[in-house]
């Protein structure tokens, strides 16, 4: 079996980012290159083609006629050694990276179709990347494997040195016996647990015993398909067994169903009439205006992102988008958000535990993953955050969220017996087997090798086509229900949709990427970009037409029945026959014990010498903290403009340099109507008190949307937990404490929870040491913005304008960015002392803007990490002006022992705001009338300086904004990889490229 190889390289006169990337890595690793590097894009074509056809394909399709050149060769079994293909690179070392057989390769699929456009019909194509490197002969054995590790990920790719690929990739495997019975009726406990762990079922003993009991009653053994179906449906990922179970809190309450009594309970008690569907569908649905609803969902994709950050983050985005597509009768996605938690990117490589990727590489690759999914699919990524803590080293967190819009009358779905079971979108392969169950397993040094099947690469264009087709079919009323194929694949999707009636599916009808999958693999594969529909038989023809027109594959798998059973067969052999009742309600209730023990209080007052420090230096150091610094390098790689709904950019002001808080989407510009979307998370407080962490998350999320014109009385929130091992009572106790504080606060804020999710086993084991993440609760807030033209900006607008502070400052430096700079943690983190008052502050802030024709608040920022000092600096970053602050006049100055507390305390509920000079009096009267803490603390200066007067009236600081801005922009200015200690600065060009004067 021979194949043709087509290799494409950039002409030497033009820039080549791939060559530059490789040169950077070599220099980084200390290997010197003596001459130019060539980066190659390779294509594999079937050997039967005529040479003339291959040449034509290379000329017209694969290579750009202006900037690129190509070479053609034949290759054969074993991989032909490559010699002299690129004559001027003769003698260079060749490093080649190709995807393992069966890993998604959208380019290969597109290439096949595009060759057809040229009249060249082929069954298969392949792709690879290669580099020709001028490495000294003696260095190669050492250098090549190390360079390869940085250019590839062995979870999904394989590497070849000095040869061409052996031929076209051929995935596939042995087809095993169709029906395999698993003897469990006679098994003892040990045997049951062995079955669970060897099958990667992630079921505990109680659950295995329940299954055993069920099949003893039935008088037969389960098939492996049935066991897998139960494992998928009962997985923590799908059923939230821990948090929906019984929790006994030591010295506190016992919950029969923790989630129902806490977060769901808040929504039930508040019961706002604008909540349309909460905690039942794939996403929460709230009313937007007379015609439409908004729906919102936030997910995590932590474990896949730990071992393959690019694919993990990308498929995370793809998955949460499908949640929105599968909500109601299918919503149109409007925007994405992402929040990452990683270890500090400047971590010394030698400190990395075995089996982990460097946090800089993780951050670089998750950014690329979000970018390369979100941008092509045409959904803007509008807001997010990055948090760093060394404890995320083995367990980075990747939160991804999507908001969609849905006509009101399409908010509900109903499957009827007789409807057809239809799958559409991507084909099914052996990718993503056991993702749902893998997500509940502790990660460890060998996770990478054990779990490669759980990792996937996304294909955004397939999902885009699916999106376009399904929205058209929706508007034509061609299906009665829809859901996404996510965790658990078809088994979960069909199982869920048929829960109230029943379903029968013939697995041989599922379109496959390649032969050789066992029926069980087909059933549980989490291959991406698939949706399942319930199509009334009379709509089938019209449904098919729409999907054909959009070039989206679809297949009829079976029918929804009225038997109350889930029946699966493969080519006539029955594989599964389970009652829906046992499948969905049979899982035994989990019982967990929880215990909360406050950590030993840390020394509170920092040593006196700290205060003697240079305030300007302190502020610059805080601005340069990875939790505070500019994320511009990340944000600019995301398309935040597509769909033309952008109402407030991530960066504000005439120079687009000032950070924004929440994003605003001007969805209905003709009605002056949009919505604001913000997030809150501060893992650092968790080390002191999880209750503080939870309150701060809710408050910051809500305050962020209020600052951008969101209506606080119509604010919906989402809870997303990422926690350590909650089988440990202390971990669960911390979660209970956080949740109780969260719910108490949400009741006062009158913010219903509309959706949420938990990821509960974020621990990393290396040797006998376990690294647990700090308890993290991400709160996402979304509220309508009824007057887009009144939204405050993020940068000071007018010299001479008064600047006010809303909200009281307390001595709350525990967990603060200021203490972090001093190497301290502290013991007094911010708490919600009077949540009712803060709610009143937000309502007042919002209502005043609705009363006046003019824009009352011209610029505003919330106070969070770094306190007043950072908020003040941020208001200046996007502005040509400066700010004078007087600490003596802030509300609560009397609570602060010194200027440092006043400046850096991270007390909740505060907003720093520039007020329209003509409306100052009205604003003051309004706030005073409501008895709210609102005081003038400064004014906008003509000159770009930050001047701060201390509580005693002395001049504390007078510093040019440019100095502060540089400190804030510097840490991630060249991306996370440049932060790794000892990393060489990235080369600005390849020596071969002749750029003339055009380099920047």
């Amino acid at each position: 079996m021979t194949a043709w190889v087509v290799e494409i390289g950039v002409r030497s006169a033009y820039p080549d980012p791939q060559a530059r990337l490789c040169r950077g890595i070599c220099e980084d690793l200390g290997f010197s290159l003596e001459g130019p590097v060539l980066a190659i894009r390779g294509f594999l074509l079937p050997g039967e083609l005529e040479e003339a056809e291959v040449r034509r394909a290379a000329r017209e399709l694969f290579a750009d006629p202006i900037s690129e050149r190509f070479r053609i060769a034949r290759t054969g079994a074993g991989g032909s050694p490559e010699k002299g293909l690129w004559e001027e690179f003769e003698g260079h070392a060749r490093l080649l990276v190709q995807r393992k057989p069966g890993v998604m390769d959208p380019v290969a699929r597109s290439a096949r179709a595009a060759l057809g456009d040229l009249g060249i019909e082929v069954e298969e194509t392949g792709t690879y990347r290669a580099w020709l490197l001028p490495l000294a002969e003696g260095k190669r054995a050492e250098a090549l494997p190390r360079i390869a590790r940085r250019l590839s990920n062995d979870v999904i790719e394989e590497v070849l040195f000095d040869r061409l690929p052996a031929g076209l990739p051929h995935p596939g495997g042995e087809t095993s016996e169709l029906r395999v019975e698993v003897p469990i009726r006679e098994a003892d406990d040990e045997e049951l647990m062995r079955l669970s762990s060897e099958g990667c079922l992630s079921l505990d003993l109680g659950e295995m015993r329940t299954i055993q009991g069920h099949f003893r009653e039935l008088g037969r053994e389960p098939s492996s398909t049935e066991l897998e179906t139960l494992a998928q449906t009962w997985s923590e990922h799908c059923k939230h067994k821990t948090l929906a179970g019984r929790i006994e809190m030591e010295g506190g309450k016992t919950y029969e169903n923790f989630l129902k009594e806490t977060v769901f309970g808040v929504t039930k008690r508040l019961d706002p009439d604008w909540c349309v569907s909460v905690f039942s569908d794939n996403a929460g649905i709230v009313e937007f205006d007379g015609e439409d609803c908004l729906c919102i969902k936030v997910e995590t994709h932590n474990h896949p992102s730990a071992i393959e950050p690019f694919g993990g983050a990308g498929t995370g985005v793809g998955g949460v988008i499908r949640d929105i597509l599968g909500t109601g009768l299918g919503a149109k996605p409007l925007c994405n958000l992402d929040v990452f938690c990683v270890a500090p990117p400047d971590m010394a490589p030698e400190e990395l535990p075995a089996g982990t990727l460097h946090p800089a590489r993780i951050l670089d690759q998750i950014t690329a993953g979000v970018r390369d999914y979100g941008n092509p699919i045409g959904i803007p990524t509008v807001t997010g955050a990055v948090h760093t803590d060394p404890a995320f080293v083995g367990n980075p967190l990747v939160y991804v969220g999507t908001v969609g819009i849905l006509p009101k009358r399409m908010a509900h779905k109903k499957v009827s017996p007789g409807d057809l079971v239809v799958v559409a979108g991507g084909r099914t392969g052996r990718d993503g087997i056991h993702g749902a169950t893998f997500s509940s397993v502790e990660l460890h040094e060998e996770s990478e090798t054990v779990s490669s099947g759980a990792v996937q690469i996304g294909d955004p264009i397939t999902e885009k086509k699916l999106l376009d087709a399904l929205l058209e079919a929706r508007d034509l009323g061609l299906y009665s229900a829809i859901t996404d194929c996510g965790a658990g694949g078809l088994s979960s999707a069909v199982g869920e949709m048929g829960e109230d009636c029943g379903a029968r599916v013939e697995l041989e009808t599922v379109p496959l990427k390649y032969e050789g999958l066992t029926p069980t693999e087909i059933w549980i594969s989490e291959a991406q970009e698939r949706m399942v529909f319930a199509v009334p038989p009379e709509k089938w023809e019209a449904f098919s037409k729409v999907f054909e027109h959009h070039e989206v594959e679809y297949a009829l798998l079976g029918t929804f029945t009225d038997t109350g059973r889930l029946e699966i067969s493969y080519k006539g052999t029955p594989l599964c026959d389970l009652s829906m009742a046992f499948l969905h309600d049979g899982v035994p209730k989990r019982v967990r014990r929880a215990r909360y023990q406050a950590p030993e209080p840390k020394e509170e007052t920092p040593p006196a010498e700290l205060q003697a420090g240079d305030l300007g230096q302190d502020l610059k150091a805080i601005l340069a903290d990875f939790n505070v610094c500019s994320r511009e390098w990340i944000i600019r790689q995301y398309d935040h403009e597509v769909q033309a709904h952008s109402g407030a950019k991530p960066f504000s002001g005439p120079r687009q340099k000032g950070p924004g808080d929440a994003a605003v989407l001007a969805v209905k510009p003709d009605k002056n109507l949009g919505f604001a979307l913000g997030t809150g998370l501060n893992p650092r407080y968790s080390w002191i008190d999880p209750a503080s962490m939870a309150e701060a998350a809710l408050d910051e999320a809500v305050r962020n949307v209020v600052v951008r014109g969101g209506n606080p009385t119509r604010c919906a929130v989402l809870d997303n937990y990422c926690w350590g091992n909650t089988e440990k009572p202390e971990q669960l106790g911390a979660l209970v404490r956080a949740t109780e504080a969260l719910c108490e606060a949400a009741l006062h804020y009158r913010t219903p929870f509309v959706s949420g999710k938990d990821s509960l086993n974020n621990e990393f084991r290396v040797g006998d040491r376990t690294i647990s993440i700090p308890g993290c609760l991400l709160v996402t807030a979304m509220a309508p913005v009824p007057a887009l033209d009144k939204v405050p900006g993020g940068a000071l607008e007018r010299p001479g304008s008064p600047v006010y502070l809303l909200g009281t400052t307390y001595a709350e430096l525990g967990g603060s960015a200021y203490y972090k700079q001093k190497g301290l943690l502290g013991s007094n983190p911010p708490r919600l002392r009077d949540p009712g008052l803060l709610q009143a502050q937000y309502a007042a802030f919002f209502e005043l803007t609705q009363i006046h024709e003019e824009r009352v608040w011209t610029a505003a920022h919330d106070l969070s990490e770094g306190g007043l000092a950072v908020a003040a600096a941020e208001l200046c970053f996007g502005s040509p002006y400066g700010l004078l602050l007087d600490l003596g006049s802030i509300p609560g100055a009397e609570n602060c022992a010194d200027d440092f507390e006043a400046l850096f305390s991270e007390s909740l509920g505060r907003i720093l705001v520039e007020v329209h000079p003509e409306l100052e009096e009205a604003a003051l009267k309004w706030m005073e009338g409501l008895d709210l803490p609102f005081q003038k603390v400064g004014e906008v200066l003509d000159e770009p300086r930050l001047q701060i007067d201390g509580i005693q009236g002395d001049l504390l600081l007078d510093i040019p904004i440019s100095e502060l801005r540089e400190a804030w922009q510097a840490p991630l200015a060249r991306g996370p990889l440049a932060c790794v200690p000892g990393s060489a600065p990235p080369p600005t060009s390849e020596p071969t490229s002749d750029q003339g004067g055009n380099r920047r």
Binding site: I66, A114, D459, R636, R855
Partner: protein, 263 residues
């Protein structure tokens, strides 16, 4: 189809992976065009639809995922399956063709731009990876060049956003190094001078070229997105008083539609 009340007919092409189609149609409609979406395979099947239109727009996105290279697959399909109709539309019918971002890449790679001397479809320039090595999304300033373009006013400065990973314009050997009269728009600095410095020139384009026109002046391709800048809230400064009430994108589409409305 088109009549006086509806304005000139504009077709907005949709290929698999096109993602700026809806806002492009909206921007054209608000500028007075009778705009509709057309899947590209429908136009391949029925190319005569083109001859009933005045404007053909290739909107932004990632046609076919930008697999192999940006817009390459769409460009090949158009050259092979729509080439004659496109040339007739431009050369004989006096039609307008607009390509934004991925649409610009498609026009260049199918050879409709710049098509020196009005010759056949043959690629004469390219758009390649940004100097930064990755996608960039930001607002830039652009100056209209004295050139072939039939509807943009020379010397005017536009503010528009860009969003692309492959926007660095490289002229081939048939073209003057600065694009000559084919250059329609250049990236400029605060003083209005063409610039090679990042981020004012966001991708390192040679001679700061941001957009090109053909000889007829009726085929225009550009990397920046007027379709993301046609309503006041789109502007980064909005709602401050500094924000323009008539954003550049709105003016851009009005100029195009007014020109295309003339017989």
């Amino acid at each position: 189809m088109s009549n006086a009340t509806k304005g000139p007919k504009a077709l907005v092409l949709q290929a698999p992976g096109t993602n700026c189609d809806l806002e492009s149609r909206d921007a054209l409609r608000r500028a007075g065009a009778d705009a509709e979406l057309v899947p590209v395979q429908d136009l391949f099947a029925e190319p005569e639809r083109l001859l009933r239109a005045r404007i053909l727009m290739f909107p932004g996105g990632f046609a076919h995922g930008d697999d192999i290279a940006s817009a390459r697959i769409l460009a090949n399909q158009c050259r092979l399956r729509l080439g004659d109709s496109l040339l007739r539309f431009v050369d004989q019918e006096g039609g307008y063709v607009l390509g934004i971002c991925n649409g610009f890449q498609a026009l260049v790679k199918m050879g409709l731009l710049p098509r020196t001397g009005g010759g056949p479809l043959r690629q004469q320039a390219t758009l390649t990876h940004n100097d930064s090595g990755h996608y960039e999304c930001r607002w830039v300033r652009l100056k209209i060049e004295q050139g072939n373009c039939a509807f943009l006013p020379e010397g005017e400065v536009f503010e528009l956003p860009i969003g692309h990973g492959e926007g660095k314009f490289i002229p081939g050997p048939d073209l003057p190094e600065d694009g000559g009269s084919y250059t329609a728009l250049r990236y400029v600095d605060d003083e209005g001078n063409p610039t090679q410095s990042f981020p004012a020139n966001p991708n390192g384009s040679l001679a700061a070229i941001a957009g090109m026109c053909d000889e007829t002046g009726r085929v225009l391709g550009m990397m920046p997105h007027p379709d993301r800048a046609y309503l006041p809230p789109h502007h980064p400064l909005w709602p401050s008083p500094e924000a323009p009430s008539d954003p550049s994108g709105a003016r851009f589409f009005r100029l195009l539609v007014e020109a295309a409305a003339k017989p």
